[in-house]
Amino acid sequence: MQHDLTLLAPELLLAGAAMLMVVAEMAHAARLVLAIGLVALLAATGLTLGFLDADTTVFGGTYRIDLIAGWAKLILLPGTALALLMARAEIAGRAREGSVYALIMLVTLGALMLSGAGDMMVLVIGVVMTGIGSFALVAWPRDDAATEGAMKYLVFGAVTGSVMIYGLTFWFGGTGSTLFAALGRLDGQTLVTVAGLVALIVGLGYKAALVPFHFWAPDAYDGAPVSVAAYLSVITKVAAFFAFAQALRDLPREAGWPLALALIAAATMTYGYLAALAQTNLVRLLAYSSVAQSGYLLMGVVALGVSGFAVPGLQIFGGAYVAMNLGAFAVVMAAGRALGDLEGMGRARPWLGAAMVVFLLSLTGIPPLFGFFGKLYLFTAAVEAGYLWLAVIGILNSVLALGVYLRLVVPMYRSPAGAPGQTGGPAAPAGLPLRAVLALCAAATVGLGVFASLLPG
């Protein structure tokens, strides 16, 4: 028990900090709430480094402390800290400011549960914890768009969550245990396997915004504050893929899930980019683009168990995705939500423009940026797993991706047609928190690409 609690130190620290943050919010000390959150996140990241090599479980095998969970923390905790800074930049001084920070912490705690889940019940708790907090975050502005987005998100979440719980009972019935480690016993029970599998795909597919469970994403992101949209687009999503990895690595591949997920991956990336091509609202565009990125992450899950590149691929692309997607949303916060706000930005604000170009090229998968190396691992994993066709579709979609992202780059560097004063969106310079986020995301996107020797393997 003592041992268990030591291994859980990051989670416990986060939970304790979240409680403190709620108390501090009652005292209307928003800056204190933020400070507690940031300190706790950094401390928890530091604690994680201590047992990154661990491969064990706690509480009777229900919660895993392994390579996947460890890297999930290394990615999600700093990512959450960046999201807190973005939220600060957007909503500083508004009513109920601190509640956003506290909710973000609780949702991240749920995300950690997802990525360490070794048991169906822990998985369900993770889904519910991330869900409830996220609904409240989306509804936070209390205007029509936010309410509509949150409502869609909630109803979708309630239905998919129920389906998931219902379906997982089949696995429990088939194995006599709620542990994922027992899933090997399902061998031969086709119907039971498929029922649970469908349920899992529905439940986590909703969290990960996979087609066809992605409908909530554009509305929820658009209704929510941009920083919350950025947060939801990376943290809960990446956690869902780690949960996929935790659950499916024990399920025999003969159950057919690799093919099912490969088909969903192909549909997700294609649909996401096609839909993104038609958007003029940058938040919605990035929402669809992040749907498409989910398709790439899913390639890593497809290759699980047969390719040594699958898990590193999820880790590297997961990390890259957090850095570059948060960065792109941060630029949107600084520039404005409409495509037209980018007009001439590259010339009026060269650093902001250069940062956006870096994020977008990395999202496309152009070397030597971080996103490229993530995709390289994922493509290699897919090819090694025998899914050459999926890698080909992924590669063809990269061209579509370039089209989507160049739609943003082209106006940024267009020579000003009208009076020079008209360009550049709101000229207010970004505040310190936002500049810090941009600098850190850009440094990670470029630095971890160029100095790729730091990548795990």
């Binding site: 590149f309 590193p312 090229l361 152009i366 070397p367 030597p368 490229f372 190396f373 390289l376 691992y377 493509f379 290699t380 090819v383 090694e384 050459l388 890698a391 080909v392 590669i395 063809l396 990269s398 061209v399 370039l402 089209g403 160049l406 082209v410 560097y413 267009r414 790729a452 020797s453 990548l455 795990p456 393997g457």
Partner: protein, 486 residues
């Protein structure tokens, strides 16, 4: 001293330094640009003096890069890459000198050019598959911003088309590299060449992927359509780099990757590849004949000249005798260099004409030879070089290619018709622009100034030198080619 690494990264480091200095006036920017490219050129000359070795690569430099997957930062040279490296550093130096009059956002322009030089040199010298791909791909980004930022009227569309087209083109190569990696367990290009890891169907699929990538880049018929648009809209230095250096990525990759890493599949597909080469050569010549825009015309002659390279490489794969194979590959490699020099000069000259007249339409000129004799004679010499006149740079290259073709696949000699067509189109262009009655409109046109002379004269000298005495260059090339595919 790791000269290869120094040559590769010196330009981009100079570019980054330029970003850091507070005074980014056009003067400072172009000063940095010329100094950095001149220093790089000097370094590549030092690399040249170190020479290449027969069989394998010389001057290899390596350090660990991504140990987890066995990717290594590894650079090296052989007789195929050495001439291309020299060509690259020379053309970038000349472009830096030529561009010194660009005032519009000069610092950004210079940074992009220096970045392009780094990626170009890196592409030719990389000996790690992943590293090669990184350099190869980043060059697209640089060229995209070059065209979009400093091109002519329709630059946005042209830049977009260039980027999407060539990006689509380069992605199959990534799949092929992944395949080679999974087949061999490393990214070492020397290992891929020494013991080709993919055979049978996998080898053929990898070859098809690579051919697609390099055909787009070369560009060969029918995936050449991005070229005229990109060339016409690109700024002059952009066109020179695009034609002189970046098209060589395609022919270099054709030899280095397709020919050397999937040799069996390449030999099987030899006749098909040869046919594409012949069609490209003929198509490029006839399409060029139909143009009235000088820049577009030269762009299409690139399709023609690169078609000869494809013919040379395909013939080498088909040839039974090592001696013939070496002749074909020597010719193909020399053709890459000659094309870089001659077409580079032609694009510079058209750019100089456009700077003066703001037009590229050959019908709008006439009788310019008397008005601007230096520009005129330089163009005439380069045009004669381009059409393959004996004594000028293309002749020894094309002669060797056709010699090997006649020996191995006589039917493909029909491509020689293209030389007649090229001769016709250049004579027509010379007549329209420089001969005939003088057009009064241009009576005040100035001749080449000192800066422009500095750019053009070295290219003309090399064109003649390679035409008259190509031995010094062929010796380097032959060191490697004599041992290939035995």
């Amino acid at each position: 001293m790791p000269l290869l690494t120094i040559a590769t990264f010196l330009p981009i480091l100079a570019g980054l330094a330029l970003i850091a200095v507070p005074d980014r006036s056009a003067r400072v920017a172009h000063g940095v640009s010329i100094a950095a490219t001149a220093a790089t050129f000097a370094v590549t000359l030092a690399i040249w003096t170190r020479g290449v070795t027969a069989g394998g690569f010389a001057q290899v430099e390596e350090i660990a890069w991504i140990p987890a997957i066995g990717a290594v930062y590894r650079m090296g040279l052989d007789g195929l890459s050495m001439p291309l490296v020299l060509l690259t550093s020379l053309l970038f130096l000349l472009c830096a000198i030529y561009s010194a009059r660009i005032g519009e956002r000069a610092a950004s322009y210079v940074v992009l050019m220096l970045m392009l030089e780094t990626t170009s040199l890196g592409t030719f010298m990389a000996l790690d598959g992943l590293l090669f791909y990184v350099f190869f791909e980043v060059s697209l980004v640089g060229m995209y911003f070059m065209i979009a930022g400093w091109g002519y009227e329709d630059r946005q569309r042209a830049a977009l088309m260039f980027f999407l087209y060539t990006f689509l083109g380069s992605l199959p190569l990534l799949l092929a590299i992944i395949g080679l990696y999974l087949g061999s367990g490393s990214f070492d290009m020397r290992a891929w060449i020494g013991a080709p890891p993919l055979t049978g169907l996998a080898g053929m699929l990898a070859l098809i992927a690579m051919l697609f990538t390099f055909a787009v880049k070369i560009p060969a018929f029918p995936v050449h359509t991005w070229l005229p648009t990109a060339h016409v809209q690109a700024p002059t230095a952009g066109s020179v780099i695009l034609a002189g250096v970046m098209l060589k990525f395609g022919t270099y990759g054709l030899v280095r990757f397709a020919f050397q890493m999937t040799p069996d599949a390449f030999a099987q597909a030899g006749q098909v590849i040869l046919a594409f080469g012949v069609v490209s050569a003929l198509y490029g010549a006839f399409a060029a004949l139909a143009q009235t825009d000088l820049k577009k015309m030269i762009a299409y002659t690139s399709v023609n000249h690169m078609g000869y390279v494809v013919i040379g490489v395909a013939v080498a794969a088909l040839a039974a005798e090592p001696r013939i194979r070496a002749i074909a590959l020597d010719g193909a490699t020399l053709q890459m260099v000659s094309h870089g020099l001659v077409t580079g000069a032609l694009f510079f000259l058209v750019g100089m004409l456009q700077d003066r007249a703001h037009s590229r339409d050959m019908a709008g000129f006439g009788g310019l030879l008397g008005r601007v004799p230096w520009l005129g004679w330089a163009f005439i010499l380069s045009a004669f070089g381009s059409l393959g006149l004996p004594g000028l740079a293309h002749f020894p290259a094309e002669f060797q290619i056709f010699l090997a073709t006649l020996d191995t696949a006589p039917w493909a000699i029909v491509a020689i018709l293209a030389i007649v067509v090229t001769a016709a189109l250049y004579l027509r262009a010379i007549a329209a622009v420089f001969l005939g009655p003088e057009n009064e409109k241009w009576s005040a046109m100035p001749d080449l100034d000192r800066r422009e002379m500095t750019v053009i004269v070295p290219l003309l000298i090399l064109t003649v030198l390679i035409g008259v005495a190509p031995g010094w260059l062929i010796d380097i090339i032959h060191t490697t080619m004599a041992g290939l595919g035995n």
